[in-house]
Amino acid sequence: MKYQTLAALEPADLDKLVDGYRAASDMGSHAKDKLNDKVAFKMREYLSGAAAQAATRQVGKLSGNFHYAQAQCGLIRTNIQFLKEALEDARKKLKDALASAETEGVKVNPDGSVTYPAAGEKDGDGKRPEGGTATGKSAHGAGLSGSADKQLEALDRQAKYHSDNPKAVKAQEIADDIAAAVHAATKADQTYAPVLRRLKADDDLNVSNTDWADTKKDTAASRKAADEIGADLPSPPKDGSPKDNKSWWDGLSQDDKDSYIALRPNAVGSLDGLPSDARDEANRMKLAETKGTLENQLSAIPKEPEKHTRVGDVWTTSADWRKWNEKYGDRKKALNNELKGIDAIQARFDKSGKKGLPQAYLLGFDAKGEGDGKVILANGNPDEAKHTVVHVPGTTTNMGNIGGTLNSMDALWAASHKAEPNQSVSTITWFDYDPPDDIPQYVPNTGNTSKWAEDGAPALQRFVQGAETAQGGADASHTTVSGHSYGSTVVGQATKEHGGLPADDIMVQGSPGMQVKEAKELGVGPEHVWSVAAPAVDDTAVREGGRLMGLGDSGKIPNDPPFGANRMDPGDHASSLFGHSSYWDQQGGEPSKSLNSMANVAVGHYDNVDLLVPRFGENE
């Protein structure tokens, strides 16, 4: 870039563009929310039938156009903003240099070199040091954003240039500054031109998988550009507590918040303490981008060949298939599993409004997470809930089957709303740890079986703390932390974390042990600990297996009477074999006793809970 161009540029002109894309992005966001939260929501509430379904689906697709516009225009706005800031910086330095040239009486040439007159002390012959022309070296120019100590710079330059003509030194400095300004501006231009070029609007209205996958790449490219030019994007406090994170977020300007969501949706989506709205916004972006990317990866896998072939009279697996399977088999399975989880989340979004289900908030999402995926999804906005349940699913949970847990939390929400219709409830699925993949890991010689709980506990503790921070403090909501199967072990471990687990009640289903030997060690008081266990073979296997593996302290697990927890009646689990996952189901034509009991705990109606017997040690 020529320095004249830089001098002539009006960064304020870029402001106008920034305003335009901000307006477009905000509009996209509001429109998408209106279509999802009001139009489609109401259609599901009041209309039914195939035509209504088809119509609602079209509303969903239209919403996709707005979501896409929001994402893309948001990125454009952020990029132009950073481009503008870099250009403004460079331009200021340039103007300072040009002004300096005027003052010093040196001439800036069209090519940026600086001509200086003869000047300085006369020598023996009465001649002054000659004039000349200095050519700028951008590397020696005045530091722009992120420059080091100015004094050191000045000294450095003096050391480089030595001349008897003081104007020569000045001219060199000015030429260097001009060169540096031009260099910085050129760099910004060259960095952002390709990034902005990527952000042209699609030429059709079908927001495809590729469009979302590209948006993900656009985000990465934008982030890279911002890093390259040292853009000023505020960072959250390092290792901040949820309270620190919330303060940081609340202190940001709206533009900065939007930029942060646009460039770092991962971070916003997982910062405990941030408002649920912001986390949901960021994670929905991430969900769309991840889905697009994974769908494309799946389509790129060549078609699976016929598995079986006949050789003479014998059926065997074909060589083609075996070759394919070796190369793609696992990858395809993994992709399908992750997509199944994404579909389950989308299915929940598509249920809002139907049959009275509230809005869903995606507070955490990652296809991989700690290994088997990450899904944190709330029914209803937890920031405003009077009663909150944070539920940790158990063994074998992964992206492929997370839908089951989401459905259970829907059922818990409905039962809790029925139990207390005048106070808002939010039930949250918290799946952000790596659970054991199968029960046999309780078999000896596998080492420390508490490992998964120890790894997962800190994240759970931070999340619950973050939820309460976002709510406005521990007293804003009555909080129940719930754990199923190995999830209960994570809960138990979390109570031992620094700061403790800020829960009012703790309830567990089919627990193999909570790392403590008595309910009173969990920090909420034994009368606030609730356990239920199905008298079915699979549930017994989990519980007793856990006891053997030492998941309870001193071999004590929650459904043992001496543990001192309230033991809820599991109801009629007529299946003698399978009961471990049935706590939220209706059983054999009756409503679930355990579900209704858990709902009453959730809303704090303790005397409506159906207990097996009074709690052991109640009269202590």
Partner: protein, 154 residues
Amino acid sequence: MAHTHSSIYDVIGAPRSSPDDTGLQLASSTGGGEDPWGGEGIKSDKKSWNNASSGVSSLKESIGKARSKMHPPGKGLEADDFECGSVLGDLHTSWKEYLGKVSGRCNTLADRLTKAGSDHYKNDQARRDAFTKLNDRYKDTEGRGPKDHKGSER
């Protein structure tokens, strides 16, 4: 099993509140005499279709407002040696056009939603087809996308 209208279903004092984020929804029966939970048939009332239609239609205005704030980069940003200048020009054109098309989509959908609430379509099947056919209208144009998937940067 037919059941007769009963004023018992009328619920006093609770207008249909809009579903708020707290999930607290106080229900009342719609229009008096209907089952609070929708009963056994297909729910299809004109008011609901029209509400959906006006919700979609209102977005045209929002788009218009946003578009009016979008300006092409001015002369001050036009220079041979300022690459972003021309890129910003292309960006502007593409997004103004895109939002215009989305506005058109709102129009078409709103129209079909209104028709669905009236006697326009013969039956529910025809009504359904009116919406599923929209998929054909907005197909993906592969390969004509502005994003260069081959070579250049990345």
